[in-house]
Every structure is written in structure tokens, then in C-alpha cells.
Assembly symmetry: C2
Homo-oligomer: 244 residues x 2
């Protein structure tokens, strides 16, 4: 028996999120089906981050135990031969028997993309939030700085979360204009349920002038979801990388 660790990429458009659900099309089910096809072993895999329906991953991390004799360097190729075309294994390696992709993660990196063209684009509809409103990017950048460091992020946590503590340490919070895109880069030791999307929705409210940049501090202090902005749509969100 050995534990295999993989980095995977997926286009979340067609899926009801990562985590397995009875009667719904999930990334986890597709991965477990692929492992079953290759090994005959049906078991639940471990993963770093539960992404919502429509959310994408450039570097989700999974792990599972197997007795299969597939050589380590062939796992990615083998998996990709049986996975649907919108899920791809980028890398596989042997992991410690107690490796857990969620509990042992020390930093997670997310990107959120807004596509700002007035005309919209059929090519962006699944891959960015198409939003052509005039946004004051400087104010949004200013507001980002209030989120850096350790904070109680309860105001940015959707109800339904099973989190026991709401304190997370944000090591990067930057918003950048990149051509027709406005990209938010977030890195932290952990994220609460919908945290990136609520931060993005709040930043857009600031960009619209509905909130002042400085109000980010008071929203944090209130520890109340109702004080923050709306939840940005899922299709602009990418889980980029998980560090161990």
C-alpha cells in the first residue's frame, strides 16, 4: 500500500463542485472513477480544497492509497487516458503515508478574474466574471491592504461553513489590471467558505464607490457576513496552487 499525491487541473464549468455528492456530477467522482478504472480500487480520495460549482483549479492537490503496481512516473499518463478532457493530472509523486493535502497545506493561492470589456465575450462566460462597470481600481488596491496579515475573516465567510475558527493569515492580497482583465491575487494559510468570492464582491462595491476603501477595516471588525459585499460569481475563481 502506498499513498500517491497528485496535482490536478480542471475546468469546473461542467461540475457541481469538487466534493462528491450523490446524484451530482463532481470532480471528485470523476477522479475516483478514473482510479477505479485503473486499479479496481474504489475509495474516497483526500483533497486540498473544496471548490464550488463552476470554480476552476490550476493546481488542486489530491492524495489516495493504492496497492496498484503502476509505476510512479506513469500515473499521470494513465489517469489522463481515462479522465474526461476537462480534468488533467499534471504531476504525481509518492507521499508520506500520513500526508493529508488539506491539513498539511501551509499556504493556498487563489486568483479571481474579472473581464472588463464593454461588449462582454462568449469566450469568457465560463472563465471570468464579465463586468463592464466603471471601477476605481486604485480604491480597490487601497482596500486590499486592510486584509493583509492575521484577521478574523468571519465577515467574509458564507453561512453553512463548518469552520471552527475564523482567523486566517493573508500573505498576499493584490488587485492588478492586466489588459482587459482585473485580477485579484490572494494567498493565505487557509480560506473560509466563499471567502475569495465575498472579498471580490466587496472590492467591486468599493470600486463602484458604494463603499470607501477604509470601510474594509470596519467590515473585518464587525465579524458579520451582512456587512460585506455580495458574493462574486464562481466562474472567475481559480485555485492556483497549494504549498506544503
Amino acid at each position: 500500500m502506498q499513498r500517491i499525491r497528485m496535482v490536478i487541473q480542471y475546468d469546473g464549468s461542467r461540475y457541481h463542485g469538487f466534493q462528491f455528492q450523490t446524484n451530482a456530477h463532481t470532480v471528485q467522482a470523476a477522479l475516483q472513477d478514473a482510479i477505479f478504472n485503473l486499479t479496481g480500487e474504489r475509495k474516497s480520495l483526500l483533497f486540498a480544497s473544496r471548490t464550488d460549482a463552476g470554480v476552476h483549479a490550476l493546481g488542486q492537490v489530491i492524495a489516495f492509497d493504492t496497492v496498484a503496481s503502476i509505476p510512479l512516473d506513469r500515473w499521470a499518463l494513465a489517469m489522463n487516458s481515462v479522465l474526461p478532457e476537462d480534468i488533467q493530472v499534471l504531476h504525481s509523486q509518492l507521499a508520506a503515508p500520513d500526508f493529508h493535502p488539506r491539513f498539511q497545506a501551509v499556504c493556498k493561492h487563489y486568483t479571481y478574474k474579472i473581464y472588463r470589456s464593454l461588449q462582454g465575450s462568449v469566450f469568457q462566460r465560463h472563465y471570468a466574471w464579465c463586468n463592464s462597470e466603471a471601477l476605481d481600481v486604485e480604491s480597490m488596491q487601497e482596500a486590499c491592504e486592510f486584509l493583509l496579515g492575521p484577521h478574523n475573516f468571519r465577515s467574509f465567510c458564507a453561512s453553512g461553513s463548518s469552520a471552527k475558527t475564523f482567523t486566517r493569515t493573508m500573505s498576499r492580497c493584490e488587485i492588478q489590471e492586466e489588459g482587459d482583465y482585473l485580477c485579484l491575487y490572494l494567498s493565505a494559510d487557509g480560506f473560509l467558505y466563499n471567502m475569495v468570492r465575498i472579498i471580490m464582491g466587496t472590492l467591486v462595491d468599493i470600486g463602484r464607490g458604494r463603499l470607501e476603501p477604509g470601510q474594509m477595516a470596519s467590515i473585518l471588525a464587525r465579524q458579520d457576513r451582512k456587512c460585506a459585499g455580495p458574493t462574486a460569481p464562481p466562474q472567475g475563481l481559480y485555485l492556483v496552487r497549494v504549498d506544503y
Copy 2:
């Protein structure tokens, strides 16, 4: 009765090409259904370019006659409210009663995108040719120059074409590296069946070193499809604009 002209954008991934076919999902059928929904009028529309299955458009041009009283500036909005989310009207205007988007086109512009990352990308699978081979871009650029000007392009025309003449005048033929992409830009007064994809396939054979750049001239001279390279896959091709 008035003739309406529209510029439309579509993601061709889900369609069996632009042109109407019985029992196949086509862009033309989706557009005609939308017009029927709005006007109750069921008629065949005119269009600038027949794009193949999986090929995209940033600026396809269509035209149709209608007696409907929808104000001209509301047509795009009205169409977009009933079209599937992968087809979008960008612009509508009144056209001359004899306007024909294909016969009156003076120049068409296409782009073909190759995505060159070694790892591939699930996000590019419908929007570029994922090809990580080492390619000599300078040789490809050199070969492009042989295609400029008026030529008989029969070597770059797939069988099944209904073209009566094979001479077209190419006003732009350029290949450029843009980050992880290699983009081919072609402009001409007209294009033959699969012409862009066969040119791209031939250029890639040159980039691989299977053909010398100078052989582009002899391939043109032979006027025989068998002399040119393979047909590049459809998903990298975009109809960008049509000039009148």
C-alpha cells in the same frame, strides 16, 4: 421589409459548424430560431463565412430581411435575450436591400492560435491547438512571405470545395509568438475550404523541419492538395472580421 445586418460572435465548440444542416446543431439554426422567436418569421439568413465544426467567430456577419418593427438599436439586445449563451450579437444596423455578407466582402481576417505549453491546458482544449513540439518560428515566418499577394491556392483547398476559381489575394500572412501562444494572422479577399487550417498545418511542418521554408513556393506552384501539410485542428481557428 428591411434588411438587417449583424456582427456576431460565437464559441463554436458545441456546434457542427455555422451552416444549417438537417439534424445537426448549427450556429445558423440557432440564429434563425432566435429570429423566429422574436418575429414569427422563419427564413434562411445570409452570412459571410461558413465556419467548420469547432471553429469560432469574433466577427461573423449575417443579414436577413424582416417586417418586424423592432427598433434598430434594440435588435442586438433582443437577439441576445433569446440566443444561447455561446452566441452573441455585437452590433446591428440597417443594410441596403441587396446587401450580401459573402459576395460583397472585400477582405476577411482570420487568426489561428497554437498553445505551446508542454503541459497542455484543460482551459485551451476548445480554444487553441495544444501543440508543445519544438517549432522553428523564424522558418515559419519566412515561409509566410511566399503566400502574400495573388496566388492560386488550390494546394491549400480541401476536397469537397465548390470553389470555381482558386486565386485569392493574401494581404496579410504573419506568425507571431505571444506568450504561450503562436498566432497566425491571415487576411485575404477570400478563403478556400479549410485554407487557413491547411496553411497552418503546412507552417507547422516547416516549423518541425520536415519542410524547408522555400518549399512553400513550390507547394503553391503544384496546385495539388497532396503537396501541402496536414489540416490543423479546428479549435484554434477564429474568424475575426469581415470588411466591406
